[in-house]
Amino acid sequence: MKISRMYALSIRHLYLIKGSFPRILDLIYWPTIQIILWGFISKFFTMYSDYYSNTIGVILSCAILYDFLFRSSISFNMLFLEEIWSRNFTNLFVAPLKVSEIIIALTSTALIRTLIGIVPAILLMSPLFGVSILNMGPALLLLFLSLYLFGTTLGILVTSGLLRFGPAFENTAWSSLFLLAPLGCVYYPLSILPEWLQYISKFLPLVYIFEEARSILINNVINYDNIIKALMLNLFYFVVAVIIFYFSFYGARKKGTLVNMGE
């Protein structure tokens, strides 16, 4: 494994971001909009509901966490889609890049892309709504790590589909997270779901991450069991996703899609 090759793939995307103001704006725009939108929704809840005593803090923090997850996944997909759209895809696969190097390079570049988007939103929380997600303390880092792993896992799975089935799989890239959000219990506790759905939801690390986030925000109590469960599930899914990516790569070689991807 060579750092320079992975670095090369990363700077290819950083050059793209650096050279395009609309791209930077696009990265910052959605998280900021989310925060503003959810800020006002939360304000409404504060005035008319007593479910949460700290509604703004809880809803906004969950919105930020969910957006971080969303950005991680979409960023990974976008990096791959950029190669297909620019018809550069084949050039990458004839370069001496190992599949593992591609995954590591895209995973780390996706983090940079995600942070560009999410940091301004986090910074805006405090002056606009008087709350800060950073108050969650060191546990926040573990929650972010878990979300990043899950986002990347989804990114790898969608990318596997793109490799295997071509650009026709693109729509799945956009909709993948919307499908999981209701089951992930991002804005409400697990107990809201019907009992049979709760069993399914418990297979998603999101449930433990957001339950824990709420627990920290509302009760000021850190339950490391939830954090460990989420990390273990994430690691399991991440490994499965990487295996599927390898299978898709070999499937694409068999099918010949690496040669004419994007056409």
Partner: protein, 240 residues
């Protein structure tokens, strides 16, 4: 670097793209691969690059099997590819693209190499322009620079002058000719331009329906089939 193709086959679900291909390309030679659209040229090149998994047979380059993942990476370090159907990222400048690929190929003294290619291929005046803003002739020169960034011992050229005006086409041909002579690069050239093939290639392979139907030097093929030039020879062979 010798390229050996042994009993190479590629079957898709209901299509037999390449049928029992056998040939050897000697180090430092330029070999042309001719054939009508859909005859299996791109599939053959795809298998040589490890992009397509052969149904059976082997691609051996410098004694290494392309199907072996670690060997494939070692082979790709010494190889490069250019095709009009593959482009470089449009939003990156010419220089940025060369830096990206130079680092991907782990090129030593990269800045020096880039400066040389920029000078040799007359890219200086637009080295800081976005690749997507260039004309097709200029883009082609940038793609050629990318394909030479790792000083490849093997170069696979898939229609390198397609859709170029005669002047730019001639510039590219001359550059490839001089480069191959200077660095003893092994080149496989897939082209529909018969003059290009006659000028550059020491040997030609004619493909039709996934098979090599004839091969030899341009002169030997022309005289064997009793035609005036390679184009007429090609037409006779593909229409038979």
């Amino acid at each position: 670097m010798t390229i050996e193709i042994k009993n190479l086959e590629k079957k898709y679900e209901n299509f037999h793209a390449v049928k029992n291909l056998n040939f050897i390309i000697k180090p430092g030679s330029i070999v042309g691969l001719l054939g009508p659209n859909g005859c299996g040229k791109t599939t053959t090149i795809g298998m040589m690059l490890g992009l397509i998994k052969p149904t059976s047979g082997k691609v051996i380059i410098k004694g290494k099997d392309v199907e072996n993942e670690s060997d494939r990476i070692k082979i790709l370090e010494k190889m490069n590819f250019i095709s009009p159907y593959v482009e470089l990222p449009k939003k990156l400048t010419v220089k940025e693209n060369l830096i990206v690929y130079g680092k991907m190929y782990d090129v030593i003294n990269l800045n020096e190499k880039i400066d040389t290619l920029i000078k040799d291929l007359n890219l200086f005046e637009f080295k800081n322009r976005k690749t997507g803003e260039l004309s097709s002739g200029q883009k082609n020169r940038v793609s050629l620079a990318k394909s030479l960034i790792n000083s490849p011992e093997i170069l696979l050229l898939d229609e390198p002058t397609a859709s170029l005006d005669p002047d730019t086409g001639d510039y590219i041909r001359t550059y490839i000719e001089e480069y191959a002579l200077k660095y003893k690069t092994t080149i496989l050239l897939a082209s529909h331009n018969m003059n290009e093939v006659e000028r550059l290639c020491s040997e030609v392979m004619m493909m039709k329906s996934g098979k090599i139907i004839d091969k030899g030097t341009c002169e030997s093929l022309i005289s064997k089939h009793g035609r005036k030039n390679l184009e007429q020879t090609f037409l006779k062979l593909v229409r038979e």
